[in-house]
Symmetry: D2
Subunit: 304 residues, 4 copies
């Protein structure tokens, strides 16, 4: 039994379904140049970052999302030295990237400097000092503009962007044109991974399958996977794309690669977890097979 | 954007988290001898059965839960002829069991006759006429009493019970004593499977891991798995137990067995789905390894 | 302490404020030709009629609203014989009008026949058989059209209409043009009263003050009053208008008139209650004095 | 139409009814020695003080509550020089008391020093510097203990206490024993007033009528009144008690007294407002007439 009196954060998950999270504190609530930002604290999730009403990550389970986003691509690349991160204001993606000793340079570009500052201040358990790592270059500008200018190449590019909401700051970072630009900055053998929105029975057609289709239309190879993220209330999807073949890794290979590369175990991601992520429920395979929409600048698909 | 005005079903998922489902109709709301019952209709989920405030299954996604509950055990048994179902008032479990032509007899025992009647009337897309199958015997009595009396043996026993809530009608159907009784009614090579409550990062220790531990203390073999059920907002856990070895099936084996046995494809369950269910995220393996609580009649573990 | 689990009706009251009512049953939910209709049952309020998401009246407190709407005008008229009721589908207004033995004819016109049928069926404690009184003529057509056609005159006209919501069926029944039409059907000494929306500190400028201003611009005399209706969460406003002077009644006069006319006491309305309704809090007097908006067909004021 | 996404304060009003207020900021949330405290900010109400989950007052409408609480007693006393305030942490009651130039001394006693400090810091528009007035003595101790010790007498005593909630800090400040103690500190002709909880149709029997009955059993004279406070969602009750006759004031007398005493108009309270407050709806008169419960230390009545 749960008492109703109190302070709650309400968040729409699907049309006709919302989630109520009892919160203790609102550490920050305000508007930046680009979006509405909330940092709230709850007993259930610890500190959460909420952008435009959508929970981005929570202290309690962000390791699931960030490890699922980062490590499959990192270990699929033979020697990731330079990494690009698009978005990722909380610093959790950066933290996981930097945990790979092979990484000598991480360029993190998040449009919204204020969000990064707020995370730096209020979410220490997310970033754990990553922003101060000397390997990091932190930029605040438009990702397309930056990537479209002449510049260095990357071994791995991690797109940790807000969902492609209509009117939001990121929907043009999920289109074929954007992926062409990103592709031009990948080194030989380079790999791109992007968070790809919800992948549940009721939601995988919102944007997950179109992102897969769009990447498949841009790159020679594209593989998708999913994981359950508690704070997102559903399965969450990811897509890896590359012009080089993406290895299909068994559980032992994953465990060996993690041991070699990191020299320690991760809290969430390991070999068997990898299999739980890359073996897809049938509806997802069907949804991907049936998808025909390619996101274009002139006709982007918006998340509901 | 979602309008607030309207009729909503609120349901607590974890302490400090609740879900709001916009509903269109309340087809039934009342108390039976054993529990509070609601049958509601929503645009998102179609018709849902709600017992004591907990959504049991919905028209939209019940196939995930019921196929995940039934088929792994059925195909793990070489030739399931007689099946016992504990609970399962909606008839979805019965429907999946009867889809196996090898089944000649299905005894379904649900304590609450009124619930079964309400499901029969209001949830035709759940049971799809299964209750009228001549192979079915439908009973309404206490499961322990029934199983503890001398009687026929079963190849597969499927426990589709309500969660072990304090004060609820089922918490004594998750104890070692109950499993001993059930075991005595399994034929040689027989298999028992039970729904085992939530299996998410934040909830797997509520009852999932203790049910695993309890079955492991009763049977020679016990294997657990999980699946994301949208209407439950989280991963859902299951445990299979047997005194005979439980085969570890690959994707092809599953697909072949389903083809042989059923002669058709299932909407949700197939070989790759099987792998996504039986490969566990690390936290679940850790949780099971660390669990020491065995449910006993005198000290049952209650779900939060 | 109040448990969160259950079925709730949510209703917006002001911008940024909503009310949650725990409901037991949804007796009806559907769309008529004109509006969304719900009949729900709650332990707190009994049966409620909800039109387009707005609670119209509840079994528990409808007597406050209906007695406040009807009787001040009825006793202000020397001998009300013929009465017109606009709207009032629940039959509560009709019931109060018919309680005056002087009434020989009551024409009730509610556009939405289906709503009246639903009320007849589901709200017996509202109408208490009033629709079957031989003095009643029940019509279902457009009020403006009906009143604008040649026809009989009325001593009292009671406008028990849904609020003037944008897109709703009634916003053209609060304009100067409409009041001119109604006025043409009043007999000598006739009185019109209309429900006039919320009259609380935060809401009286939504439509209450404009309706007062509009009636004052149409009739020689206009008096307003208010009462707290629990199910509306706030004070509720009414306006009485006439071309004859509207008497200012003391408590004794009201009690005497009720005794003479009805021969019995009313549950809610009496002399002292009358004073509590006609003595206005200062903010209402200020709001009325400051109001300049007259509702015109071409520029109606909509309730928020 | 109101979007659901966002931060909301939920508060139970009656059993089965709650109010949702969209909030922008949580300025403070924590536990003092005595109670749970929240200071929140909303677009609708500005800053609100919430104690143990109950809204105490809001920036937007606190003037209604505080002026209704203070002025009727103040002008009913011929010359209020010394005033005692029990509770009233926000400083709004103090502010209204100090607006009477006749007042030379105001002893304000609020048990919870931390609450007063929080109000001082976060609610400047409530107290408007009142705490710094040289006429004020601010105490933080138990009201019964303080009043039960020998000490000065008061012309007016204003009890602005939290509701008599079971387990709350104030339920022993509504009993006959407490009123006897308070009475012993009233000067000749002195008047006591207390906030008395909700006075709506559905709530007046929670504590309003028993406080009236208890004061009537203690003092020679007792008069009650009510006012609609928007943030409380209902009518709110007050009781004035004295051993001297309490004058029944007409509208003109109130206006004259306010003009003489204050030399200015008040935002909410005036002569006609006074009549709207002191003329009671019939159900309140009936409820008071029927009430037999006297609050005693050994059997206090708790608010639901």
């Amino acid at each position: 039994m749960e008492e109703i009196t109190g302070k709650w954060l309400l968040e729409t998950v699907y049309p006709d379904l919302a989630v109520m999270l009892r919160i203790q504190q609102v550490l920050y609530s305000g508007k930046t140049e680009y979006q509405q930002v909330e940092v709230v604290e709850s007993n259930l999730y610890g500190r959460s970052l909420v952008l435009d009403g959508k929970t981005q990550s929570t202290e309690r389970d962000e390791h699931i999302y960030h490890q699922a986003l980062v490590h499959p691509s990192m270990i699929s690349h033979p020697n990731p030295v330079s990494v690009f991160i698009g978005g990722g204001g909380e610093g959790g993606t950066l933290r996981e990237v930097l945990s790979h000793p092979s990484v000598q340079r991480a360029v993190m570009l998040d449009l919204d400097e204020q969000v990064v500052e707020l995370c730096r201040q209020h979410l220490p358990n997310h970033h754990r000092g990553s922003f101060d790592d000397p390997r990091v270059q932190l930029l605040h500008q438009d990702a397309r503009e930056y990537l479209n200018s002449p510049g260095e190449g990357f071994d791995v590019m991690v797109m940790d962007l807000v969902d492609p909401l209509e009117g939001g700051p990121a929907y043009l970072l999920y289109t074929r044109e954007y992926y062409e630009i990103a592709r031009s900055r990948l080194k030989e053998g380079g790999i791109l991974v992007t968070q790809s929105g919800p992948a549940g029975l009721l939601s995988h057609e919102e944007c997950f399958t179109t992102i897969n289709r769009t990447l498949s239309a841009t790159f020679a190879h594209c593989v998708c996977y999913q994981v359950h993220v508690p704070a997102f209330q559903t399965l969450w999807g990811f897509n890896i794309a590359s012009d080089s073949p993406i290895p299909s890794l068994g559980a032992e290979s994953v465990d060996e690669l993690l041991a070699q590369r990191l020299g320690r175990e991760l809290e969430f991601y390991d070999g068997e977890t990898h299999l739980s992520m890359f073996n897809l429920p049938k509806f997802l395979r069907n949804g991907i097979a049936a998808e025909t929409r390619v996101n274009l600048d002139e006709s982007p698909v918006f998340m509901v």
